[in-house]
């Protein structure tokens, strides 16, 4: 049976993207990052984000491809 079989952690997709997941609980809140998912396309990323992070009562959830995020500076770097 497929269940309860120990399986090494694998990624079957050839081309995957990382998506950052943002959510908020109330209109007055700002969106904040709650995690990330890895998926080969936007639809699967939606499904994975919802499955992984929907335990809380978010009023909004958004995913963003990590590659679309423009970094200004990062830990260990000086502010330009």
């Amino acid at each position: 049976m497929g269940a309860f079989r120990l399986m090494p952690f694998t990624r079957v997709h050839q081309n995957v993207r990382e998506y950052e997941v943002f959510a908020r609980k109330a209109r007055v809140d700002s969106l904040r990052q709650v995690g990330s998912v890895v998926a080969p396309d936007d639809d699967l990323a939606r499904a994975y984000a919802r499955a992984t992070y929907d335990e809380e009562r978010w009023i909004e959830m958004v995913i963003v491809p990590k590659e679309s995020m423009i970094s200004l500076w990062a830990p260990g770097e000086d502010e330009p």
């Binding site: 309860f4 399986m7 998912v37 890895v38 080969p40 396309d41 639809d43 699967l44 499904a47 499955a51």
Partner: protein, 218 residues
Amino acid sequence: MRYAEWCTAAPSLEADIAAAAMGLDDLGHSRVLYGCLKELPDGESVDEGTYTNVRYLDQPWTDWSQFVAANAVLDTAFTLMIESLAGGNVELLRSRLRKMLQEERYHYLHGRSWLREAPARDAVVSAWGEALEWFGPDGGDVDQLKKAGKIALGVPELRRSLEEKLETNAPSAGIAWDRWNPITRRTSEGGIDQGTLDMLQGLAEKRYMPAGGQRVEV
């Protein structure tokens, strides 16, 4: 239940989690539908001793392609029927099935994407045939309910919508309607084994309860 069996065996960690989440969703949907059945004004009496399922769920799946086909084809067929119920003139169903459809949207996205990723031809043919059996024959009970306005989609619309959703034509499947059972909505005998049924009904968990049936808070 079959989804949940893959919660540690899917091809990626995200797919493991999605399998568990979709399994939980569908158990919840079963509860809502069962509750509706008891409340429908002209509902038939509920025979609590019986259980039936499509043949595809009789045995645990042994290959991920079977999961993908069930998720893409059977779950979408199920969702179309829920859409049909929610779009009919029965107020109870119109109001109560909305959340179910919101959740099923993600099952659909998951199934459709995986179908593109991991073609599952044989499993799809099998699942599709069973979806058609479950919809029922032309001019049968589903079409009668459509005629009465209780549901929004008849059998031809359900079949066509399934093709549209999955962006492909139905595989040709000769269904032996003369063997079709209108109660089980399938042409074959059989079903899930007693152990699986016990798990579905929560009976399998009882052995973990202390004598006297007191719940242990952990």
